[in-house]
């Protein structure tokens, strides 16, 4: 890799590594498999060199690509049979018990809701933007968010729940 291309890739890596890792951990639930998925995501970026319109587009591409890579890994039924929840405690810097509880429930959400929940709550995308990123209908994204939130609400309590 030429040094300019290498520098560019490393800048791209540092801009996106945090949210890619969060997404990967959210799906894979343990650090070793999350790291493996993270590496695959950046390898794909290196090979495809997608032309990003702006940083928002770039971030969206990384989140969606990382989600898809993780989902595909989880589809390996062989893996499902042998992998437990792993070492989630090892990496999570939980500041208090409640925060850890919330994170634990996010990990337990069905895979199909996780990407939308992450993009909406953490990255601050709107449901319209998420629909565009995922190639989905806005109504579907709204439904995924609603069902994901309901599940969290049910397990964590929902008196102060915000719509």
């Amino acid at each position: 890799m030429l040094s300019t291309a290498k520098d560019e890739f490393e800048a791209l890596y540092h801009r996106n590594v945090d949210h890619v890792f969060r997404v990967c951990f959210m799906f894979m639930k343990n650090s070793s498999e999350a790291e493996d998925a993270l590496q695959e995501t950046f390898l794909r970026a290196m090979e495809k060199a997608p032309p990003f319109k702006n940083e928002g587009h770039e971030k969206g591409w990384f989140v969606v690509t990382a989600s898809n890579i993780c989902k595909n890994k989880l589809k390996h039924w062989f893996r499902k049979k042998r992998t437990g929840d792993g070492d989630r405690l090892e990496l999570v810097k939980h500041r208090d018990h409640y925060e850890f509880e919330v994170f634990d429930e996010i990990l337990a959400l069905p895979e199909k809701y996780k990407t939308a929940i992450y993009l909406y709550y953490y990255e601050g995308y709107t449901s319209v933007e998420i629909a565009e990123l995922l190639g989905a209908k806005e109504a579907t994204v709204r439904s995924q968010l609603a069902r994901g939130r309901d599940m969290l609400k049910k397990t964590l309590g929902g008196e102060e729940y915000e719509k």
């Binding site: 890596y13 540092h14 590594v17 945090d18 890792f21 969060r22 951990f25 070793s32 790291e35 493996d36 993270l38 590496q39 390898l43 290196m46 090979e47 898809n68 989902k71 595909n72 589809k75 390996h76 039924w77 062989f78 893996r79 049979k81 042998r82 990496l91 999570v92 810097k93 939980h94 500041r95 409640y98 925060e99 850890f100 919330v102 994170f103 996010i106 337990a108 959400l109 069905p110 199909k112 709550y121 953490y122 995922l134 190639g135 989905a136 209908k137 579907t140 439904s143 995924q144 069902r147 599940m151 969290l152 609400k153 049910k154 964590l156 309590g157 929902g158 102060e160 729940y161 915000e162």
Partner: protein, 428 residues
């Protein structure tokens, strides 16, 4: 719960700077490794081409020498091997984590490697009142897929084929990829949806509406799944429905899509089992074809079942059940190549061969085998798929550290052992 709680929970997970640098280094290593694999594949391709040309030339010249054992091509082999790219010297081997895990899993499946702990996967140990209860438990077990040896004997079956693994390297050849790709694209066309994303070899494509079609080498199958509900299936449609009713609603939507692509003459359906732990429930619907010949039926069930998967976070608490995907076996459109038909070892031979081996401290004896089944061992990176016996061993005494009284109950430990010669084991 507030929105900020969810937001805050995500911030609690991150890599430190050192870990980030390590990750970056591993990405570079994997890139090099991938390049190296491509170079080796290219060199192998050139080698095959040169060898073919030499064989052809030898044939045309009428050299009279055995073309497969002539000296010329060996000399050429060496030339190719020496022609490795310079950068290979810099290659650092990829971490072996996954491989090691697979090795460990493999070890569990070869003869007499007894898991150190009972329970867990659900097939390490059975506690039953009698053998009829064992049969019931096996019927409901997702890990159970064998055929009773007695049934085989009744059928006069004394031999079984050993199959070649179509993807022994864990990678598909261009021809295999083409076949898989044709099937996947045909599937996509059937769905009438545009392809919105695909990988380089189109072994994984994403369609509109979040549907992905993926060739899964690990399971030797094509996995069709979607992130999104069909428009016709809403929360209202599913509200208050039983497991069977919910599955029926999804099946009415998905099965016609699959049905048109498979060639079953007499499809049968079986909602076979439910997996469950504290946080989720999983249901599987198997579609298979009914055959009159039990041996044919056995092979079909081993390699050619189409399976729909559903799961719910907590179904008993009223959480909705979601469609996860359908798995269509690779075997369905490209049956495995048969290496040879091998006589099955008898149970007496097995016991003799493993004389002195112990299961939880108990010596293997014929009288302790209360049930024997044959199934196929299809570990994804093994070169062959051989038939394997699963022997259910009755324990005379509970192993040490087990606080169990065997006076009222039977403890049955299943073990697995090759039913054909050892040379069909893994890389031999």
């Amino acid at each position: 719960m507030k929105n900020k709680d969810v937001r805050q929970a995500f911030t609690s997970i991150e890599l430190n700077d050192e870990q980030k640098e390590q990750m970056l280094e591993k990405i570079y290593q994997r890139k090099k490794q991938k390049k190296r694999t491509q170079m080796i594949a290219l060199a192998a391709g050139i080698l095959v081409l040169i060898t073919s040309l030499l064989l052809l030339q030898n044939f045309l010249d009428g050299g009279g020498q055995d073309p497969l054992h002539g000296e010329d091509e060996y000399e050429n082999d060496e030339e190719i091997v020496e022609d490795d790219p310079d950068e290979d010297d810099e290659i650092v081997e990829e971490p072996k984590d996954d491989e090691e895990e697979q090795e460990e899993d493999f070890e569990r499946y070869i003869a007499f490697e007894i898991p150190p702990h009972p329970g867990g996967m659900g097939d390490e140990l059975y506690m039953v009142d009698d053998l009829s209860e064992l049969e019931l438990k096996l019927r409901d077990s997702p890990w159970h897929s064998g055929i009773d040896v007695n049934k085989l004997q009744e059928l006069g079956v004394a031999s079984m084929p050993v199959f070649m693994n179509p993807f022994p390297s864990g990678m598909s050849t261009p021809e295999q990829a083409e076949k898989s790709n044709t099937f996947i694209v045909k599937f996509a066309e059937k769905l009438g949806l545009e392809i919105v994303d695909e990988d380089e070899r189109r072994l994984e494509i994403t369609l509109e509406n979040g549907i992905t079609l993926q060739m899964n080498l690990m399971d030797l199958s094509i996995i069709v799944s979607t992130d999104q509900e069909p428009e016709t299936i809403t929360e209202d449609t599913l509200r208050g429905k039983s497991i069977e009713e919910t599955i029926e609603i999804y099946q009415e939507y998905y099965f016609p899509i699959v049905e048109d692509l498979i060639s079953y003459r007499n499809p049968q359906r079986d909602l076979s089992y439910r997996l469950s732990d504290t946080t989720w429930s999983e249901f599987r619907v198997n579609y298979l074809e009914a055959f009159e010949n039990p041996k044919e039926q056995f092979f079909h069930e081993q390699f050619n079942q189409i399976q729909f998967q559903y799961w719910a976070t907590d179904y008993s608490e009223g959480d909705p059940m979601d469609f996860q995907g359908v798995s269509i076996p690779y075997y369905h459109f490209t049956p495995f190549e048969v290496l040879d038909e091998i006589p099955l070892k008898t149970l007496e031979e097995i016991v003799e061969e493993h004389k002195g081996r112990e299961i939880f401290g108990q010596k293997l004896k014929l009288e302790h085998i209360v049930r024997a089944e044959v199934f196929y061992y299809t570990f994804p990176t093994a070169p062959y798929f051989p038939p394997v016996y699963k022997l259910y061993i009755k324990m005379e005494n509970a192993p040490e550290n087990f606080d169990i009284d065997l006076e009222d109950q039977m403890m049955i430990v299943p073990i697995e052992v090759l039913a054909v010669p050892e040379k069909y084991d893994r890389e031999q």
